[in-house]
Symmetry: C2
DNA sequence: ACCAATAGTGAGACATTGTGTCAATACTGA
DNA sequence: TCAGTATTGACACAATGTCTCACTATTGGT
């Protein structure tokens, strides 16, 4: 089966709690709420989006989470590879929940549905680039954009 | 030899003027100044950088070019493939002067020196992704980051 | 060369996204 | 329980980009 594409093992809030404390971070109530809210998304979300969602908490809890806390927490989660920072087609940054090791994403330009993939065909290119330019190459960014099946226009057949 | 890397044919201001009018844009003095300033750069520059450079015009011309004009003009130039929008290592957007067709860049994380390359190894990957996901794939973004020869630490000899 | 039509400009207000500060708070281990 | 300290939240601030709108300058026709 398609071993190159799917992300079959969803991460859980308690798993993230474990990772947090393993890294020496405290488990606080804002962090838990942020993690839970992030896990609700199966497509990229922006920090501001989370800010808004956590502000209108419908269950009556009026305690706001500060914007800075959300940005900080997302940074932490990204640094632990729980989230990935991705660039949206428009050029804006967003986060996706991700399993560690995954690096690249296929993103629907219309609805932002996202598929992670691990195969990375640039190794050979990197060798050529090193030979040609004498750069030391440390990192790369690869994002693929298109239309997911649901957003594609119907094939005209009635 | 390195046919995959260099960008040997620099574009000129008058060439850009031609392209502009071919696309129905007027040749205005702000646009000419923006184009000339952009051509001075051989590495990525941000819109704000151009704003600053065009503000301190040292030749005594006190006419400022509005920020909006600069952003608009850069957008136009990018839409005509005279410039490319690239993502800097930090995640910020910048522009590089580029020959049409070139799409990817190798960028030094330290000094932002940039090398354009045309080879693009993702065609095969794209086929796999289409087969696995049924996406229609329209575009992709690939940026490679590293250290240029001048910014690399010395090899520890001595 | 002149004119009218209209694309383009510039200034600044505004929006968005993100960072820094710092007193107050809450988590943790003892 | 308590103290130590990581963390929080509110807000100020910065950077980057968008929008508006009256004014200006370019262009094509004459």
């Amino acid at each position: 089966m398609s071993q190159s594409v799917t992300t079959p093992e969803p991460i859980t809030a308690s798993h993230i709690r474990t990772i947090l404390s393993q890294h020496g971070y405290r488990i606080t109530s804002p962090r838990q709420r942020i993690v839970e809210q992030a896990l609700l998304h199966d497509r990229p979300f922006t920090a501001e989006q989370l800010v808004a969602e956590l502000r209108n908490h419908e269950d009556g809890s009026e305690s706001n989470i500060g914007r800075a806390t959300i940005y900080r927490t997302l940074e932490i989660l990204a640094s632990m590879d729980v989230l990935s920072r991705v660039i949206q087609p428009g050029g804006h940054a967003a986060y996706v929940v991700d399993a560690p090791g995954h690096r690249h994403h296929l993103v629907c330009s219309q609805c932002s549905a996202t598929v992670a993939f691990t195969s990375c065909p640039i190794d050979e290119l990197v060798q050529d680039l090193i030979a040609d330019t004498q750069f030391q190459i440390h990192d790369h960014m690869l994002e693929v954009f298109g239309l997911c099946p649901e957003c594609q226009p119907p094939t005209n057949g009635t």
